[in-house]
Symmetry: C2
Subunit: 505 residues, 2 copies
């Protein structure tokens, strides 16, 4: 029997994937459960990741003509009632504010008092409250388009929560736009889906499939919902971002209408699109290994950590000075339009190296007394084994660091693409379909086949069936999928294109 390799995270992915996920979050110090049911505390290392996601996406939104604004946290109950499908979709998970004071009760404990005439819902999404503003702002076609984004916290009362993936409160951005024509609104929906896909691939190094959701999986109130879907290392899909063409549904509900160029009063066409702190869950599960988090360099809070070897008292000051100089030199390097992020860890615990492995920093640089003499450093790449290090002249390392980070970034994307390709198959028989989604390994029941590209007859009944039997859903109808003649994998009825079936978060 082969000796078991010691890993920094226990259990490993193969042993227990969901528990591995929680342990990576803990080991990287990204977040923790809060005492408030279903809410998490995002700790500094996790929040720094979110700040980087925000910074990059915000730049992409502004480059596509959007501006930020801020709308109220609370939505009057009567607003929620305006769009029937919308309220149907969110009613079961709304936190409701009913009182506006606290008073000491007979036993000295606080009790809510000052009941509100109209209860307020804590926003589960902001279409209705933003619609109320847009209906005032839009009078003429000259007032359109409105291209606004909001960074905000959202509350959806979830029964089963998992950090970053599904929490009662989460952070997100929500774009809300209004247009004079259907075509413009459809173009906007497509444009923002493209922005999300570019961000996922270029920055998160997370390959995604752009597709349309089936009617069953649509955003409540949308005409069409598009999504980016990524494959995690347990071969489940993560819906990572959505862009909705809302038609005139919300314009009618919120009375967003205008005089068009011909002098007719018509309703506007609206869109909404969002990504959330869920992306951090996707990043963890796309790249992490059995030693913890692996950060794509372009989003890492720090690209390099310097670890001076300070055991020997006589060389201590010299090594430290050398490392400070190296840190300063590296911080002069421009990476992705900003100074390189460099941490210098002078702590001396035995676990120091592993701490940074688990936190996922792309490059670890060791400097000891002997390296000083040679003016060289020892470099470890987080995308390789923890003990795989190489020596390099300091000047060469500094000159080459941007190239090295580019190589790591590209490598992570390639690795994830290969993984997805290896676990995506075309399936044309029902037996094979059922077998594909049946776990092979009793010890780790989560692991199954992956993504199945199959023909589908377009009916919700089929979706119901595979959901009930296998907990499998149609993740999306890929936008770049070719038209081809085929037969529905479940019913044998004719179909003209393949969709992606998968298990999902």
């Amino acid at each position: 029997m082969a000796e078991k390799i010691k890993t920094a995270i226990t259990p490993t992915r193969a042993e227990n994937y969901p528990e591995w996920y929680q342990q990576v979050i803990k080991a990287a110090d990204l977040a923790e459960q809060s005492p408030v049911r279903g809410c998490m505390v995002i700790k500094p290392w996790g929040y720094a990741l979110w700040e980087n996601i925000q910074r990059v996406l915000d730049g992409m939104f502004k480059a596509t003509g959007h501006r930020n604004a801020y709308f109220p946290l609370f939505i009057p109950l009567s607003f929620m009632e305006k769009e029937a499908a919308h309220v149907e979709g969110f009613a079961k998970e709304c936190a409701v504010v009913t009182h506006h004071r606290l008073e000491a009760g007979p036993d000295g404990k606080l009790i809510p008092t000052g009941e509100l005439e109209e209860p307020l819902v804590v926003r589960p999404t902001s279409e209705t409250i933003i619609g109320a503003s847009y209906s005032k702002w839009v009078q003429s076609y000259r007032d359109l388009p409105i291209l606004i984004n909001q960074w905000a916290n959202i509350v959806r009362w979830e029964m089963r929560t998992r950090m970053f993936l599904r929490t009662t409160e989460f952070l997100w951005q929500e774009g809300h736009t209004a247009h004079a024509t259907e075509q413009e609104a459809r173009e906007e929906t497509a444009r923002m889906l493209r922005v999300y896909a570019d961000f996922a691939e270029q920055f998160m190094a997370m390959p995604v499939i752009c597709g349309e959701k089936t009617a069953n999986e649509r955003f409540p109130g949308a005409v069409t919902t598009y999504c980016i879907e990524a494959m995690m290392q347990d071969r489940k899909a993560l819906q990572s971002g959505t862009s909705h063409f809302l038609g005139q549904n919300f314009a009618k509900a919120s009375d967003i209408k205008f005089l068009d160029a011909a002098g007719q009063t018509v309703f506007a066409w609206t869109t909404s699109w969002g990504v959330s702190t869920r992306l951090i869950g996707g990043l963890i599960m796309t790249h992490g290994d059995d030693d913890g988090l692996i950060l794509p360099p372009r989003l890492a809070p720090a690209q390099v950590v310097i670890l001076p070897v300070l055991h020997k008292e006589e060389s201590r000051a010299e090594v430290l000075a050398y490392c400070h100089k190296l840190a300063a030199e590296l911080r002069e390097v421009q990476y992705d339009g900003r100074p390189l992020g460099v941490e210098l860890d002078v702590s001396e615990g035995r676990e120091r190296n592993w701490t940074w492995v688990k936190k996922g920093v792309p490059l670890r640089v060791e400097v000891g007394p002997r390296d000083l003499a040679a003016d060289s450093v020892f470099v470890a790449r987080r995308d390789r084994g923890a003990k795989d290090k190489f020596g390099q002249k300091r000047a060469e390392f500094v000159a080459g660091v941007v190239g090295l980070l580019g190589e790591i970034q590209a490598g992570l994307l390639e690795r994830a693409k290969s993984f997805r390709a290896a676990n995506t198959v075309r399936i044309d028989s029902k037996d094979e379909f059922y077998s594909f989604f049946t776990p092979k390994n009793a010890e780790n029941p989560e692991i199954h086949g992956g993504f199945a590209l199959c023909h589908w007859n377009g009916e919700g009944a089929v979706e119901e069936q595979v959901k009930n039997d296998l907990n499998v859903t149609i993740r999306c109808i890929p936008l770049d999928g070719p038209e081809e003649e085929g037969r529905c994998v479940i019913t044998g009825q004719p179909s003209r294109r393949r969709v992606i079936f998968g298990k999902s978060y």
Copy 2:
């Protein structure tokens, strides 16, 4: 009788200051009332201002060793009960979530259902919920200090609201730190007060007085509250930021304790400090004039707006091309470490120039057909009269624009300092004190004397008296005020230093 000068804002400051304030916000398109009681919608121009405030402050926080994190929006009722003074201070203004679902009632209207076992308060501030985390994070003196900041939305159920100054929901940052010693915590409190004062003066061009609050005006649960106080143009004070030394009060309430170097279990010392979207109200009321907003260049969403004169069809294309080139050239200019913000407004309404005056952009640049030939531009400074323009060679303007903005920034601070100096007096008699705070002009009852530097006997009863009689409070005990022998302006009792009395927002 002198002809009345036409102003862009009606009424003028002298006519009705509170209404002028609302009209400036409307004219600059900064924000508007939302349909949700007491909550505002922050519109793109207002939010861009907040983004700049965030960006600069965030950099200052990070430069002083702080990192960002995020804690839950909801606070369990039992947490609020832990610190007696704290709950006393906030109980009357807490929005309370009591249910987590909506259901259609008998009449089809939605009603809250799914009652929570323990109601949740929407955070009015986060000491108690953050304290719960810190008590887990801190075990040993090696875990200290904890230096964390959070950008978040806050809810305080206010009965009378005014946009930016006092709203039910507002945006803010709250720093929360924990330290091993009292001295360190006191130093932190002072450091962050200094950061706020520097930000106010260097970026907002808003002079502030750093001081300590009296016991009456302290943050609920604090040992000492420090503040920055600014004088608005109606001579009222605006408390613009606070920094609290919390002693061990919250550490005891939240059980934040640790083993010190001597092996003793002791409580930590904590601080908290915050500024909010209220700063935008301060900025409006410090610099705005009867033509609207005046933005300090360092925080303006755009420093320059280019206004091409496009009346003549034959020169239209040429003028436009020239302006695009000028915009590109200006965007190459580095201002405060970033590219200069430049708007190019090609709309042709008659109100175009006034739109940008009201929005407060520091420099307006007109380019018409005749300017083209001379390769020159017409420049108007927002800190001068709307018709006060000067011609300048394009290249000279571009080369000198950073200097010009620096001059405007410095000038705004000087003007505000002079205004404050002109309306701050030392008063040593009770009669004079009462007269100073009695409005002189029946038509504009808000306008009174300003700040009064007076001796005070240190007793709350005096504060009560002047509050009841004049609606005047002690704004702060200035930190840089000299010790001097004196007698309390109200009671004649001995006093060793002057405090600042004023009316306030």
